[in-house]
């Protein structure tokens, strides 16, 4: 057997398991946060609250604890409501105190740290191990041997060696804490040394390889954290069970039967997930330690003894079931890994899947943390958590992919098809979403088909990453590939982070059943930008507007940081980065000639498609005031659509002829096709009016490059942003195609540098030019309608409706009503009680009127009454009061007796509107 070697590029990047441990730790920590929050809700928060249990402000704001998420979002998005909610939450006792959570998390971390330091002491306590000294080894030969091995393994600081004489297995174990490590030799190992010195050497070198790979700290830190968490976990489980009692309060959705059951399931799922993921990481580390030992000179034969595949089917089944739970790979796997180290670096399915699940659960849970979002706001938390999650996921999967690419020769097929890696990642994301219990109101999501979007996000991004890393690893050999691959992974992080944030803040609502688009509402919104649009509302205009709206919001959202330009940048990276490999001199990069040829054909296709669109649009809209606006909307939407389609066809053609880098080839072709389509579209728009039946907006022939340019720039964010991603998703049809041998190398492209530079510069210029048009108005609602205060979703039950009004009264409504009416009474009493001197009016009446004005302003800043009729009466009362108070102030300032008299009358009139709102609210108080 030959000694396996690890290429230099693969070394130093490690097994990529450290980010996996970090991801697991993040999962444990964030789950602890969720658990503590639930506990604190019972332990600390509830007693300080009143009957409404700490959700009073939300009720007053119009939320419905038993209603659906969308309605609640809508209630909060009404003008002024968020601000009112903020000031309501600032009332004492309203915001959940954050200190219990801080203290608990602090204790958790401290306990884990203490355990981390105590564990090694406990394991080497007296009565457990004995020092390897002259009592066991009188001649000093054994000590000399192991210290010699320390040098062989390349460790600068020798660990401490101890012996566990009672352990009869021929093994060893390494443990310790930061900087102080102990190798514990089992009694069985000392016994075996006599007959099998090579085996002894292999075992010790394996343990020393663990030290060299820095496995000890991270492993035991994770162990410590997990054990502490297991102490806390039962508390959360008991809490869930407590809520299962029939007597438990069931008013609030968060505490009902189903969600408690789901909570139990979610907890069980989490425990299993952490166990399996941890075991998997440990197995990988074992294989790497084996390889390290062999590289230090251990005899691979030493692993033979343990490799006995089970013969009976039952034993094989048992091993298949127990395998994923074990911390060590079985002997057969270890031996296979040593005979062919590329096996160790093949992309495994499980870790990629686990990463998908974990990253989604971590980010989703972080977003649902009340303590954090109440203070920081949901949008920054979403952006930050998505960025962190994307970074960790990219580090984990990227490391695996890179290792695999580096260890797969350019001539042989990658062990795992790239699209398979993507599929497992996407499947992990979907599983995580389902486990998170966020998209479900019942046991299943309302519209599960939209989970496909999440699957596509995962599949496409990781498929691209796999092929792209592979491409760079073979274009630039050895260490030179490192910066390129790091750049690739940065791009992956950016792209995934953008889409992930979009999914958190927008996409997941689609699954929950939120309407994606309301065409008529979008038309009303667009009418504010393209006046006259509503007048021309006929035929497919609503469909066009809806398509435009969805395309403009796919992957981006006004509440997520990256925005349309982040997506544009992400999309451009997807195809510009791989395109630069075409400049590689050794001919391993993308086939530029084929790409340009296919893109040119795609460009011709685009011209034909644009011509058809223009022909259809020529007579599509009847003459009238809204014609230009409607045509512009039609034209730009369908131009983007057909250019995307043409790009997909061209990309598919080029990608299908590639054997290994289908997606990068396809995307590069699609990108260049889009650019040539943009060029065609620029010419067509600039000379609109000269094309006869192909004219759209104008009939007068002339060259208007300004208009053409702004048109092209305006289409750029949709085309090169979501458009590229749509093409990538469409290219998935290539994934199923059988692999074909790479066609014989064509003659190379002349002046490749020039071609690539022109393409890159064009994208940069277009992106910069599109900056302004991309800033679009977009309303926060899916329907595209600006909400008014009256748009309160109907309560799910009369009780909730009543509670909302009561909460409104309790947190300020009652006080405002009493204050204003009380001052109005005082006013009337003052004014109608003679004698009323001028001094009285200036000193007492004027300040009173000012107070009323101020109170009315405060009342307007408060929540709208969560009852339609009461809300109308309340506004009427406030209007009356404000008018009377303003008249009063103006009259006093102007010394106008007649005006003052009319102010008095107005003030008396408020009695009636006060009576009305008072009577309206009375039934709620009964």
């Amino acid at each position: 057997m030959t000694t396996p070697t690890i290429p230099a590029a693969g070394r130093g990047f490690g097994a990529g398991t450290t980010p996996r441990f970090l991801l697991l730790s993040a999962l444990v920590l964030i789950t602890a946060v969720r658990l503590f929050e639930r506990l604190n809700a019972v332990l600390f928060y509830a007693p300080s609250h009143d009957l409404l249990g700490g959700i009073g402000c939300y009720l007053a704001a119009g939320e419905d604890p038993a209603g659906d998420h969308v309605a609640n979002q809508q209630a909060l998005q009404r003008p002024g409501v968020r601000e009112a909610l903020e000031s309501c939450l600032d009332l004492p006792g309203q915001r959940d105190p954050v200190w219990p959570l801080v203290v608990e998390m602090g204790l958790l971390v401290v306990a884990a740290a203490v355990l981390y330091f105590v564990l090694p002491l406990w394991r080497s306590r007296p009565g457990r191990v004995v020092e390897l000294d002259e009592r066991i080894d009188p001649s000093g030969e054994l000590r000399e041997l192991v210290h010699g091995l320390v040098g062989v393994a390349g460790l600068t600081r020798p660990p401490r060696f101890v012996v566990d004489p009672a352990a009869r297995t021929p093994g060893a174990v390494v443990f310790g804490r930061w900087g102080r490590y102990t190798v514990c030799l089992h009694g069985g190992l000392l016994v075996r040394r006599v007959e099998d010195p090579l085996g002894f050497r292999a075992v010790v070198l394996h343990e020393l390889a663990h030290l060299r790979n820095r496995d000890v700290d991270i492993t035991y830190a994770t162990v410590a954290l997990w054990r502490v968490f297991l102490v806390v976990l039962p508390a959360g489980v008991l809490l869930s069970i407590a809520y299962l009692r029939p007597a438990a309060p069931s008013l609030f959705a968060a505490q009902n039967h189903r969600s408690s059951l789901q909570d139990l399931f979610a907890t069980a799922f989490l425990v299993v997930l952490v166990y399996l993921a941890r075991a998997e990481v440990l197995r990988v580390r074992e294989l790497h330690a084996d390889l390290g030992a062999v590289q230090s000179g251990a005899d691979p034969q030493a692993w033979h003894r343990d490799a006995r595949p089970p013969r009976r089917p039952a034993a094989r089944l048992l091993r298949w079931i127990s395998g994923p739970w074990r911390t060590h790979p079985d002997g057969t796997q270890r031996q296979l890994a040593l005979s062919d180290p590329t096996r160790v670096f093949a992309v495994p399915r499980l870790p990629v899947f686990f990463t998908g699940v974990t990253v989604l659960v971590v980010v989703g849970t972080a977003r649902s943390s009340q303590a954090v979002t109440q203070r920081v706001g949901i949008e920054p938390v979403t952006t930050a958590a998505s960025a962190l999650g994307a970074a960790l996921a990219t580090a984990v999967v990227g490391a695996v992919l890179w290792q695999s690419a580096v260890h797969t020769p350019a001539t042989s097929r990658p062990r795992a098809p790239a699209v398979r890696t993507g599929f497992w990642f996407g499947a992990g994301l979907v599983t995580g979403e389902l486990a998170l219990d966020r998209v479900t109101d019942g046991w299943l999501p309302e519209r599960p088909q939209f989970l496909l979007v999440l699957l596509l996000i995962g599949v496409v991004i990781m498929w691209w990453t796999a092929e792209h890393v592979d491409l760079w690893a073979h274009t630039r050999r050895g260490r030179r590939s490192r910066p390129a691959v790091l750049l690739t992974l940065t791009a992956t992080g950016l792209v995934f982070g953008t889409w992930f944030a979009w999914w958190q803040s927008e996409g997941q609502w689609w699954v929950q059943g939120r309407p994606i688009v309301d065409p008529q509402g979008v038309l009303r919104l667009y009418d504010t930008q393209l006046p006259g649009l509503l007048d021309a509302n006929s035929g497919p205009l609503a469909l066009t507007a809806a398509t435009n709206w969805v395309l403009g919001r796919l992957g981006t959202d006004q509440s997520v940081l990256p925005g349309a330009h982040g997506l544009l940048l992400a999309g451009a990276l997807l195809w510009l980065l791989p395109l630069t490999t075409a400049l590689s001199r050794n001919g391993t990069g993308l086939p530029l000639r084929r790409i340009v040829t296919c893109a040119a054909c795609g460009g011709l296709l685009a011209v034909a498609a644009l011509a058809v669109v223009r022909l259809l649009l020529h007579d599509a809209v009847a003459p009238g005031p809204g014609r230009p606006a409607a045509l512009l909307l039609h034209d730009s939407t369908w131009t983007v659509a057909v250019l995307t389609a043409a790009a997909a066809v061209a990309g598919g053609t080029a990608g299908a002829r590639s054997s290994r880098y289908r997606l990068p080839t396809g995307l590069a072709t699609a990108g260049i096709t889009m650019l040539s389509g943009q060029l065609a579209s620029f010419v067509l728009e600039s000379a609109d009016g000269c094309w006869g039946p192909f004219d759209v907006l104008t009939d007068s022939c002339g060259w208007r490059p300004g208009g053409g340019w702004s048109y092209v720039a305006g289409n750029t964010p949709e085309l090169l942003g979501p458009g590229i991603f749509l093409v990538a998703a469409a290219l998935l049809v290539l994934a199923g195609r059988r692999e074909r041998p790479e066609p014989p190398a064509q003659s190379t492209m002349p002046r490749p540098r020039l071609v690539v530079s022109v393409v890159a510069v064009t994208v940069v210029v277009l992106g910069a030019a599109s900056w302004k048009p991309a800033v679009r108005v977009s309303s926060p609602t899916a329907g595209g309608i600006a909400l008014t205060a009256a748009d309160l979703p109907v309560a799910s039950s009369p009780t909730i409706h009543r509670l909302r009004v009561l909460a409104w009264l309790k947190y300020g409504g009652q006080r405002l009503l009493d204050d204003i009416s009380g001052k109005q009474n005082t006013f009337t009493v003052l004014v109608t009680t003679p004698p009323l001197t001028y001094r009285d009016v200036v000193d007492r009446v004027r300040p009173l009127c000012l107070d009323i004005e101020r109170d009315v302003a405060a009342a307007r800043a408060y929540f709208p009454v969560p009852d339609d009729e009461a809300w109308r009466d309340w506004t009427a009362y406030l209007d009356d009061s404000a008018r009377a108070a303003v008249t009063c102030r103006q009259a006093v300032d102007a010394n106008d007796v007649a005006l003052f008299r009319s102010a008095g009358q107005q003030m008396q009139q408020t009695f009636f509107s006060h009576r009305k709102i008072y009577d309206r609210l009375q039934p709620f108080l009964r």
Binding site: P165, R168, V173, G188, V191, H206, T327, H328
Partner: protein, 156 residues
């Protein structure tokens, strides 16, 4: 007793001498309970082999310990062993190593039988078990001479 164990191991399974020397640093109770518990668990960052490779020492030590205790309990004061253990725990004294009392031929035969039984359950081959039991019987019947380091050169 420890000297008996060491002497017998030196004769029967000299490769296990380092283990005996290491175990001698524990008190009897710890050594027996650790040996009784068997092999190591699978733990993270271990090497991961599960087969027990030495068997003679545990069989010998445990069998001898049990038999000697039984004899001593009966002979000395009739106090059950567990009660004495409690007292010792309370006084936190490191116990003296167990000494092998004078044994009758019958008692030695019993001990020999016990070794064979234990060996059968722990997977030691019958030939090695016989050799071990015989060697032990010889050691117990012939008056003990202090055993010096008899480790053969191969282990050095």
């Amino acid at each position: 007793m420890r000297d008996v164990v060491r002497a017998v191991i030196a004769d029967v399974a000299p490769e296990e001498l380092p283990v005996v020397d290491a175990l001698r640093q524990f008190d009897d109770e710890t050594a027996v309970s650790r040996l009784g518990r068997g092999g190591a668990r699978r733990e993270p960052l271990g090497f991961g082999l599960e087969d027990a490779v030495y068997l003679v020492t545990p069989v010998l030590w445990i069998a001898l310990d049990q038999s000697v205790r039984k004899t001593a309990d009966r002979a000395v004061d009739g106090f059950p062993h567990s009660v004495r253990k409690l007292f010792r725990r309370a006084s936190r004294r490191r116990p003296e190593p167990l000494a092998v009392p004078e044994l009758t031929v019958h008692q030695v035969a019993d001990i020999r039988q016990r070794v064979l039984e234990l060996a059968a359950t722990s997977g030691l081959s019958p030939e090695r078990a016989e050799a071990l039991a015989d060697q032990l019987a010889v050691r117990l019947l012939i008056p003990v001479t202090p055993v010096e380091d008899e480790r053969p050169a191969s282990a050095e």
